[in-house]
């Protein structure tokens, strides 16, 4: 048998690094075609890699794509960073027809077990497409599991029941009116992969890195960052963001009714120790094994409605989680990934304003959390949450 040629070895090496190559246009066509064939055989054709080959303008490749019926977006290559056994996706269903939602998320969610919790107040049946490993929990399940409980799981709070019944290490939760979005390079954002990357790389809460997340590719800790702090701590909570319809309170929605979030900020960063933030439940992921006990709906506004701006349960939850993480030496990140949030409800903010009590609530809530000091003997999340609730009363 002939030993492999130098050219063949080079192409194999290029294949190994295909995800990191930015431009193939300088290669002669026959090599581009050979590389394309190898990429297909190795199962390494992702949306980004496909774009790379199509950008060369090579006619044979364009023809092959058509003949093989390769479509964009396609099911991404299995991300190597997380396994199905680690992740549950929890979706609170506040609208009955989830067909568009699940079809759009199919390439990213289809590998994982999905927990759908139906708003106990919603009468209609859910419409969910097939082909998912999915379990639906309804009002009877909630009552069956918990019986009489002081926790009200109606509306957006129903997702917390999903956190309760999950058995996985990580949970990713997205509102049912959000769809995948494209990043500035035009590739669809894999929300699962980004949240997992955030949770699986350390956070750096003790000192601010001016180049943001130092564990991202192409960046590092800057000059002046103490070396003893460069190991970081485990990240427990990953807070994502939203393009288009941003998560504003109803007053801001009314005054800036035409404003849409169009700025894609390509950064993830750790929220520093001691700094509080408003965690939005619209697009969030966390380490359920460790932080789970802190992820509960503690605050319910009196006239809480079904719109996101009617609630503050996630804000309260986030403040609890942050205090607990700060106390136990864990990290919280914010930034990527983005989702595209529809503005189906945006015009209705004015109706909510009438009964909205949210104006003053945060002015009382925040100082409480900022001054909350948990006992040094509280070394688990469980103890911390109990300690916090003791302070509450």
């Amino acid at each position: 048998m002939r030993p492999p040629s130098l050219l063949s070895l080079t192409l194999d090496s290029a294949l190994l690094h295909i995800a990191h190559i930015a431009d193939l246009s300088h290669l002669p066509d026959h090599l581009v075609i050979d590389l394309f064939r190898r990429t297909l055989s190795a199962g390494k054709l992702t949306e980004k890699v496909l774009k790379l080959f199509l950008a060369t303008g090579c006619e044979e490749i364009i023809l092959a794509v058509q003949l093989l019926n390769i479509k964009q977006p396609i099911v991404p290559v299995l991300p190597t960073r997380c396994s199905e056994s680690e992740v549950d996706i929890v979706i609170a269903a506040l609208q009955p027809n989830l067909t568009t939602f699940f079809e759009a998320w199919r390439p990213f969610f289809s590998r994982f077990h999905i927990i759908v919790v139906k708003d106990p107040d919603m009468a209609e049946n859910l419409q969910i497409p097939t082909g998912f490993d999915l379990k639906v929990y309804t009002k009877s399940d909630i009552n069956g599991v918990l019986g009489a409980s002081s926790i009200n799981f109606s509306g957006h709070s129903c997702r917390y029941f999903g956190y309760l019944v999950s058995r996985k290490k990580y949970v990713i939760s997205i509102d049912d009116n959000c769809l995948p979005v494209k990043d500035t390079a035009g590739s669809t954002v894999d929300v699962v992969a980004q949240h997992m990357a955030n949770l699986k790389t350390p956070a750096t809460p003790f000192f601010f890195n001016t180049l943001y997340d130092p564990y991202r590719k192409g960046v590092d800790f800057v000059r002046g960052y103490p070396f003893s702090l460069r190991e970081g701590v485990e990240c427990m909570l990953s807070c994502g963001l939203w393009m288009h319809n941003a998560d504003y309170d109803p007053m801001t929605h009314v005054v800036k009714r035409n404003q849409r979030n169009t700025t894609y900020v390509d950064a993830v960063m750790t929220v520093p120790l001691g700094a509080m933030l408003p965690v939005s439940g619209i697009n969030v992921a966390f380490n359920r094994d460790v932080l789970g006990p802190a992820m509960f709906p503690g605050l319910r506004l009196q006239n809480e409605g079904k719109h996101r701006w009617d609630t503050l349960e996630d804000i309260w939850n986030g403040l609890c989680a942050k205090v607990v993480c700060d106390s136990l030496g864990y990290g919280v990140k914010t930034g990527l990934p983005y989702v595209m949030r529809s503005d189906a409800e945006a015009g209705k903010a004015l109706e909510s304003l009438k009964d909205w009590e949210g104006v003053k609530v945060m002015d009382d809530v925040l100082p409480f959390f900022q001054s909350l000091k948990l006992s040094r003997t509280a070394v688990t999340v469980d103890d911390c949450v109990k300690g916090a609730s003791w302070n509450c009363t």
Binding site: F207, S228, V265
Partner: protein, 362 residues
């Protein structure tokens, strides 16, 4: 709610000085000409004072070399570093303007993702003229930017913000790494344009880089002392770091804000990592003590001005860091000298500066 102004950013050409330390030449100003020409420049010439620094035609500037510094400050000149860009803080002291922008002479105009040249100075002015939000983190970053706002859950009582004292810009191309990281990653370039400005939360320290920095001299000027570095000193490349830690502690105490993020400049020159390692060597060990020191500093209620805060800091540096190395006693002394010199050159309105002689013209 944040009401972003759609009005054009004021030039502030009579209220802002650009301070540039240099040892070679100022050819880089040619590229900045469209943006810098309206402004007055203060050039601090480091190194050999007999050398002539060539300034491109058409700029309005004043230039100070070591002889000028010695003449104007007399014995107090000892607080100004020699053979280190830390000498730039002399420029802050002699300026009479409200705002300072400082930039290194190897920093050029960068392009944003659309290919447009970035007017760094304009962005810094925007940052300084809009409030900061240090008491609660806004997840959509700077809420005063056009197109952004405070998110749901942001307390309304905190939406007015506080005055911004410092605007810390970033760098594309050569990132500001320390020597060990430069040695391990000599080819890494910062290519990621992060389209955000954010306030660094109260109580959080950060590594302030002096390459692309603007501040409100009236609000925080006396805290921007860049320390004793360079010739005859056991440490270098920590001048801006030191100023940043002091500044952050004081802004936190006085309820002022520090922003970081946009604008980007293009950093063209990577300094020699082996030379850097020698300069930074002590700093790398000392910063392990310095960070806990700054994180636990508490300033008394009576410290109501920047100068009072700074003198109190100097006292604590002497008391707590003197045992780390004798250098910190010298540094504490210089911090006091700096404030004395600052107050002499910047008396309260109505007073007359008592420095030796008027500043030299070009």
């Amino acid at each position: 709610m944040a009401s972003a102004s759609h009005a054009p950013t004021p030039l502030l050409k009579d209220e802002l000085d650009i301070v540039i330390p240099t040892i070679r030449n100022l050819d880089f100003l040619e590229m900045w000409r469209p943006f810098f020409q309206p402004y007055h420049l203060i050039i601090v010439q480091d190194g050999d004072p007999s050398k002539t620094i060539r300034v491109p035609e058409g700029f309005d500037y004043e230039l100070y070399n070591r002889n000028d510094i010695n003449r104007m400050l007399g014995p107090k000149a000892s607080c100004i570093s020699f053979k280190d860009s830390a000498c730039r803080c002399f420029g802050y002291m002699v300026s009479k303007k409200k705002y300072i922008y400082t930039i290194d002479d190897d920093c050029f105009v960068a392009k944003d993702p659309s290919g447009k040249d970035i007017n760094a100075l304009e962005q810094h002015i925007k940052n300084l003229l809009s409030p900061s939000t240090p008491f609660f983190f806004n997840t959509l970053y700077d809420p005063y930017r056009v197109g952004a706002d405070f998110v749901r859950g942001y307390p309304f009582s905190l939406r007015e913000g506080v005055p911004t004292a410092v605007s810390h810009g970033l760098w594309l191309n050569i990132p500001d790494y320390d020597a060990p990281t430069q040695l391990v990653k000599p080819l890494e370039r910062n290519t990621r344009y992060v389209d955000a400005i954010l306030t660094i939360p109260k109580g959080t320290l950060f590594p302030m880089c002096g390459m692309n920095l603007a501040f409100d001299r009236e609000l925080i000027g006396p805290a921007m002392y860049f320390g004793l570095m360079g010739d005859g000193q056991p440490i270098g490349r920590y001048d801006d770091m030191w100023a940043g830690w002091c500044t952050k502690v004081i802004t936190d105490h006085l309820g002022l804000g520090v922003k970081t993020g946009l604008p980007y400049i293009w950093h063209s020159k990577a300094s020699n990592p082996f030379v850097n390692l020698k300069k930074e060597y002590n700093g790398i060990f000392w910063q392990e003590e310095l960070i806990p020191f700054f994180q636990s500093v508490s300033l008394p209620k009576e410290a109501t001005t920047v100068q009072k805060c700074y003198l109190e800091l100097a006292k604590q540096v002497r008391a707590k860091l003197g045992k780390v190395d004798g250098y910190f006693n010298k540094l504490a002394d210089s911090m006091v000298t700096w404030i004395e010199a600052w107050d002499e050159l910047n008396p309260p309105k109505g007073g007359v500066p008592t420095a030796n002689g008027p500043p030299p013209k070009k």
